[in-house]
Symmetry: C2
Subunit: 178 residues, 2 copies
């Protein structure tokens, strides 16, 4: 399948005032129900990362699972989950990070990371970058490396680029205003 | 790759006393970090469902996404998300169902379902069957059909078989006691 010809914007539904008034929500579920659009994303991911020497793919709960899992399968690489607090049953390490209001906590199975291995961190959409920054730090704390972060959609106005400036951030499409 | 020779049990970590004392937790993250085990699951799913005339794959949040998403990609079929309340931005229908303590609510984008189409419902582990029963009912309410339900692991002692007796339930491995 050709990888460069699909207009991904046409497959992304824009929903005003979700999850709160004034916010325009970029909805990836309309990619998922469109097999041409969904395949396009994985073809693009292969183009971006096929030459990397990766130890695994790390997936951020919950929508990150949707893009990380098929890519781990396609690359025949381990899939590592980064989950909200209390979901992982094994030995975990945790990190708290600030949200707009309050804070959140994510966890990683420490034994899922191969020491010295490089992990590609995957989410669906990159906005403030807070969850991804905390996720990358968890992987480093467990002995791994993160060089690249991938999201299907990037919202650089939010602004993730300064938050994630230790990493190469890759997106398939960017939107520049709310 | 051969599909019938992998001993999936060896790839499933058993963790006692999670999420509470007395419960033995069957951990699928040890499948995810084992590419041979992970590929085996999708090969088995292809064997089970390749001859079905499916309109799409329906995924139950959150671990269901991990197995439904690659399978939708492999089958070139739409992926439909069933999510916890408040996560889906479009027009939804909802269903509440009982948990051991209290209740939960799940939602579906009503426009994601093709009228008259048959959907394969996918989760990682089938235990009480409550979430899957509510999910199948949501798909039916939206105009679709569900005939088959798939989970990697089945715990029939809990006992999902009576709860899901309207459906053909498929699992790759069953455990018969806690």
């Amino acid at each position: 399948m050709s990888t460069g010809t699909f207009d991904l914007d046409t497959a992304i539904r824009k929903i005003p005032n979700f999850p709160k008034p004034g916010v325009l929500f970029y909805d990836i579920t309309s990619i998922l129900t469109n097999p041409e659009a969904f395949s396009f994303c994985f073809n693009q991911m292969k183009e971006l990362f096929r030459s990397r020497q990766l130890a695994g793919i790390a997936a951020v709960e919950a929508r990150g699972f949707i893009f990380a899992s098929p890519f781990a399968y396609l690359m025949n690489l381990p899939l590592v989950l980064i989950r909200k607090q209390g979901k992982l049953p094994g030995k975990t390490i945790s990190r708290k990070y600030a949200l707009e209001y309050g804070e959140a906590e994510i966890q990683l199975h420490v034994d899922d990371i191969t020491h010295g291995g490089t992990y590609l961190l995957v989410d669906d959409l990159i906005a403030t970058g807070g969850t991804l920054k905390a996720s990358a730090e968890l992987i480093r704390e467990a002995g791994g490396n993160v060089e690249d972060i991938f999201g299907v959609i990037g919202l650089p106005f939010l602004p993730y680029e300064s938050v994630l400036d230790d990493y190469a951030v890759h997106t398939l499409i960017q939107y520049h205003s709310e």
